[in-house]
């Protein structure tokens, strides 16, 4: 039996096409993926991300525990701030990638991937059992009671205050939700329940993620859609979420990241803080930062009209005597660039931007070129 989010009925009413995703029945699209993708780039899109998991870590030992568990430096977070971070195993492979928010002095919220909730929670519990001050570190998996939506796009800041007028009583002190800057999070009471609004997202656009109890989530959804109507806000599905994140090269667990892949190979070394003291996987990650890795995650663009690249397709060097050098892990037709794009792993010495490569699509090789990340970069706003 697939799990359903608190917004399931709302998706049905909107005509969303529901598909299986990581054990959940989720909308892949309401209109079309391209339509929703372009709406997010030009105006706004509202996504149900309630399938994602929420784990609270709190107490006097929380910070020390999180800094042992995660790769980024949690000590850099002020109350009301968040950071992208990774949870690694002893071999430096990724257990999950996640967002860590500091909600209060000793209260932290971890937003984890839907498909990883069970593994993550048992991994975190196992690690907690090994630390001496575990009595001072409380864990609470709130994935079943909390839901979340992502409000993304260049116009969403114009109307978010209508739905969340404040006051903001937790996290970062702000007068208005629209005052939140990148990675800041603030809490407010919405219909009697605590709603957290974080300025972050997974699309490369400005926007917010709203985390609230499942009981009020449909009101959050409906009120945001109503407030955004005049600003061309549309509901958007997981299809557009995937094409949007691929254009800006954000990793997706199970594609760019897995237990055999390190953050350094994935190009996420920025989120691995070696100077914060010991953490799980540190020895190997430090070696990799110093000496490099054997393979690297690259972004590429098809250079000719071709079928879109897909995960699992082989990557070849260019030329008649070239050999197979790697594999595609994410690929699609870019709705903004109107050409096939993707991410893949190749040997580090071949991972130069500008290098020609070929993608094997149904036994034929089509030309492509390695490009700098992100593949799509927003043009500066016109004045």
């Amino acid at each position: 039996m697939l799990k359903r989010t608190p917004l399931f009925a709302a998706h049905q009413r909107l005509g969303g096409r529901l598909v299986e995703f990581g054990g959940w029945e989720m909308p892949v699209q309401y209109s079309t993926i391209v339509d929703e993708h372009l709406a997010v780039r030009r105006a706004g899109g509202l996504f149900d991300i309630s399938h994602m998991g929420e784990v609270m870590v709190s107490g006097i030992g929380a910070l020390a525990f999180l800094n042992r568990l995660l790769t980024n430096d949690a000590a850099r977070l002020d109350v009301g701030q968040g950071q992208y971070t990774l949870m690694c195993n002893e071999k430096g492979g990724v257990v999950d990638d996640l967002y860590l928010y500091r909600l209060a002095e000793q209260d932290y919220l971890l937003i984890i991937n839907a498909s990883r909730i069970d593994e993550d929670v048992s991994w975190i519990q196992k690690q907690r059992a090994t630390v001496p001050d575990r009595a001072g570190t409380k864990l609470e998996n709130q994935s079943d009671s909390l839901g979340a939506v992502a409000l993304q796009g260049p116009l969403v800041r114009a109307f978010i205050d209508k739905v969340f007028p404040g006051p903001f009583t937790g996290g970062h002190p702000v007068a208005h939700a629209s005052d939140l800057k990148k990675n800041q999070i603030s809490g407010t009471i919405f219909l009697g329940a605590m709603a957290w609004i974080g300025c972050t997202g997974y699309t490369g656009e400005d926007g917010f993620e709203v985390i609230a109890p499942g009981a009020v989530l449909e009101d959050v959804w409906t009120q945001l859609l109503a407030a955004g109507h005049a600003h061309r806000l549309q509901p958007a599905g997981l299809g557009a979420r995937d094409t949007l994140r691929t254009e800006v090269c954000y990793p997706l667990y199970g594609h760019e990241l897995d237990a055999q892949t390190s953050p350094i190979e994935a190009g996420l070394g920025f989120f691995v803080s070696l100077d914060k003291g010991p953490f799980i996987g540190r020895e190997i990650l430090a070696q990799q930062k110093l000496h490099g890795t054997t393979r690297k995650c690259i972004a590429f663009k098809m250079t000719d009209k071709s079928a879109p690249p897909r995960p699992g397709y082989a990557i070849w060097g260019s030329g008649a005597d070239a050999s197979k050098i790697g594999v595609v892990v994410s690929g699609t037709q870019s709705p903004c660039l109107n050409i096939g794009i993707g991410l893949g792993y190749v040997p580090a010495e071949l991972a130069q931007a500008g290098s020609p490569i070929e993608i094997e699509i149904r036994e034929r090789r089509s030309p492509a070129v390695i490009v700098a990340k992100p593949i799509y970069r927003k043009e500066p706003a016109s004045t």
Binding site: Q29, T32, I33, V34, G239, S306, A307, Q333
Partner: protein, 128 residues
């Protein structure tokens, strides 16, 4: 959304249509199929002169999300392909029974066409 099912065509269970003119037949995908796929971004057609069997995968349509095989509804030889649809795959979405046709066959076994679905049966299959 209700999909168009023209009365003068035959249909395969796998959502291709066949328009018969004597011994030749034109093949494309149905309005229902293009509605399901949405945003078709690439169409790969069979080579001219290729002999295909009924039910054999001989073309590919790619939407943003997935690649789908297209099966020939009948056996025959490919005598014409629609270059316009490979140049502009969106024709499959905008005009699936007209400008978005895929290929033309010289039909080998006319009896196979009789075994295809009528418009009424195809409508039933797609729940209309």
């Amino acid at each position: 959304m209700s999909s168009k099912v023209p009365p003068d065509l035959k249909f395969a269970k796998s959502h291709e249509w066949l328009r018969l003119t004597g011994e030749t037949g034109v093949v494309g995908i149905t309005d229902h199929a293009q509605n399901e796929l949405t945003d078709i971004v690439f169409v790969e057609l069979p080579a001219l002169g290729r002999k295909v069997k009924a039910g054999e995968p001989c073309a590919v349509v790619e939407s943003v999300k997935t690649a789908s095989d297209i099966y020939s509804p009948v056996s025959g030889e490919v005598i014409e392909i629609n270059k316009a649809v490979s140049d502009n795959p969106a024709l499959t979405n905008s005009d699936p029974y007209g400008a978005g046709w895929f290929f033309k066959l010289k039909i080998a076994t006319p009896a196979e066409a009789d075994a295809l679905l009528s418009p009424a049966d195809y409508s039933k299959q797609i729940g209309q």
